[in-house]
């Protein structure tokens, strides 16, 4: 049973939760996989027990490229948990994967959550937070929690072409 402590939280994936056990197991190998419907071929996120588009329960785990564009974000300045407080401000990113964007309808996408992180998966420092907003190009990295359990995170894709100025909330707070 994948289980571990992360920033003061006890994360537990039950053995009976086959979908999440497999998903986080791939993440533990720093490998991003999603369920792909064997009937209609659509990928889905987060892991689930049937295809939201055709209701088929059968699927295959398929490797998906962890690259995308920031669709929106929240930027936490007053953290709740003590182990987030020392890292504030931290960003919660909603990222449109390049794969399957705009499918099966215009406003749909695989929108994968994660914090803005350093390349090694730690929460990003303020200098990096300031550079990221809606439109930023990001790539997936992982934060290792325990055996069989790593969390997807996002870091700025330094190799990608970035927008001149990603859209950020207009008011700065504490210099960020």
């Amino acid at each position: 049973m994948p289980e571990g402590e992360y920033r003061g939280m006890n994360l537990t994936i039950l053995d009976v939760d086959h979908e999440n056990t497999a998903y986080f197991g791939y993440c533990a190998g720093h490998d991003f996989h999603l369920q792909q419907c064997t009937a209609c071929g659509l990928l889905r996120y987060p892991p689930g027990t049937a295809c939201p588009w055709c209701q088929n329960r059968e699927f295959e785990w398929t490797a998906v490229e962890g690259k995308g564009t920031v669709h929106s974000y929240g930027e936490v300045h007053q953290a709740i948990q003590p182990q987030f407080r020392e890292k504030a401000p931290y960003m919660i990113l909603i990222v449109d994967l390049d794969t399957q964007k705009g499918q099966p309808s215009e406003h749909e996408a695989l929108r994968v959550a994660g914090n803005l992180a350093t390349p090694d998966g730690d929460l990003a420092p303020p200098e990096l937070v300031k550079r990221v907003g809606i439109g930023s190009r990001v790539r997936m990295v992982f934060a290792d929690v325990a055996e069989g359990l790593s969390l997807p995170m996002w870091t700025l894709d330094e190799d990608a072409e970035q927008p001149d100025e990603p859209w950020r909330y207009p008011q700065e707070y504490n210099g960020v």
Binding site: G8, M9, D17, P46, P52, H71, V76, Q78, Y169
Partner: protein
């Protein structure tokens, strides 16, 4: 884009039910009471308000996030023998939904008169965001896709939707801050409001940042309180003390697609109101132009704005103009949250906005206007600080309940 909601629900219950009594406790931060004592207090006040004896109440419903006391305890304390009760799990937007379910229970012949209550020590026991004991509980399965990212509180959860609205439509922090400014004006005329102080746009923007785009004053005020409303058939409603508020339509816990994680189905700056409008307007038989006052759930400044927009009170994307135009102000075309709402009166998971609208439709809100020798309020309609908050000719109200961007409820009432 057209909605695929089936809006063909039968209309025959339109106007057949009513709210006959409303009540609440005081709003405090530190009640020093159990949720049982608070719940009993609020239900008792609602019964007094209606003038209904315990023998004529036979149904009870409540909702909570496992932070309340169930109906049997409250009913027992008040000597109410129940023919029906149900206590459900749920937060915001449950109030309207439970009023709909109460109608259903009565319509099915299960009981005659239902009290719906919410009791919470929302400041002194269970606060928003999961601190204390809740923070130590194991996080499993589906929550591992959110909680480990420091993404648990309502403000944190909703922030990407709010931010994207600013990006999509150019909504500004100054516009959104006006929701708090206006609600604070209303609260300054509400003796019950926890925060009665009027604030300015600058006060909102200069308050500390919680999670962008939410400053402290964009967020509601957690309080300890209980609230209750009593629902019965319209034909019985006139047997009681006050003018009933007749229910024209209710829509309950309507969802966007992919409610398991609603961000998958955009536009993410569109909220459940987009789907609710196709149920509530046809069933109520009225449209936005007929509504005299709104109770748009203000867990945050943004939640009022996003809902008003998606229900059709303005064009999509023009919510920033709507909330900053003065329309929502007392004396404006369609005042919103005349009690001060969650931002100022107190956080109740939506109940206080229904209670307020019932009182508005009766023409009997409690403000600072003088009373006559019968104790009846003589409204001045002077909305300056410390004055009146009664809306002139309040005939039809709407509540716009919010659980999260992807789920909401609605209630349309008329003066009885």
């Amino acid at each position: 884009m057209t909605s695929d909601v089936d809006a063909t629900a039968p209309k025959y219950l339109r106007d057949k039910y009513a709210i006959i009594g409303v009540g609440e406790t005081t709003y405090t931060r530190g009640s020093n009471l159990t949720t049982r004592a608070l719940g009993t207090w609020a239900v008792r006040n609602a019964m007094e308000d209606a003038g209904i004896p315990a023998s004529e109440v036979d149904g009870m419903m409540s909702y909570s996030n496992n932070d309340s006391t169930p109906s049997p305890m409250i009913a027992g304390d008040l000597g109410i023998r129940l023919n029906f009760y149900m206590d459900v799990y749920g937060g915001g937007s449950s109030s309207e939904a439970l009023i709909g379910l109460a109608i259903g229970a009565i319509e099915a012949g299960m009981c005659n008169t239902v009290v719906v209550f919410r009791s919470m020590n929302g400041y002194s026991q269970v606060r928003i965001g999961g601190t204390g004991a809740r923070a130590r509980a194991p996080i499993g399965g589906d929550a591992v896709h959110t909680a480990p990212y420091g993404w648990f509180s309502a403000g944190q959860n909703f922030s990407p939707s709010f931010m994207r609205h600013m990006y999509d439509y150019g909504t500004t922090p100054e516009q959104v801050a006006m929701v708090k400014v206006i609600h604070s004006e209303h609260a300054s005329n509400n003796p019950k409001a926890y925060y009665k102080q009027r604030v300015t746009v600058e006060d909102v923007l200069n308050s500390r940042m919680i999670v962008k785009p939410l400053h402290l004053l964009d967020c509601c005020v957690e309080t300890d309180n209980a609230t209750a409303v009593i629902v019965t058939r319209a034909e019985r409603a006139y047997d009681y003390r006050n003018t009933p508020a007749r229910i024209l339509a209710v829509a309950g816990r309507v969802c966007k697609p992919r409610i398991d994680m609603h961000f998958q189905h955009g536009p993410i700056s569109t909220v459940a109101g987009y789907y609710i409008k196709d149920i509530i307007w046809p069933n109520a038989g009225v449209g936005p132009e007929d509504i005299d006052l709104t109770g748009a759930y203000d867990a945050f400044t943004f939640t009022s704005m996003l809902q008003l927009e998606d229900y059709g009170f303005c064009k999509k994307g023009e919510g920033g103009d709507y909330v900053s135009s003065g329309i929502m102000r007392l004396g404006g075309e369609r005042p919103n949250n005349t009690s001060g709402g969650h931002l100022c009166e107190g956080y109740t998971h939506g109940m206080n906005m229904i209670i307020e609208n019932v009182r508005q439709l009766r023409g009997e809100v409690d403000c600072y206007c003088p009373t006559d020798d019968q104790g009846r309020r003589q409204h001045t309609y002077d909305y300056s600080e410390g004055g009146c908050r009664q809306v002139r000719d309040a005939n039809i109200s709407m509540n716009l309940g919010w659980a999260m961007p992807g789920t909401g409820s609605s209630l349309v009432m008329r003066k009885g």
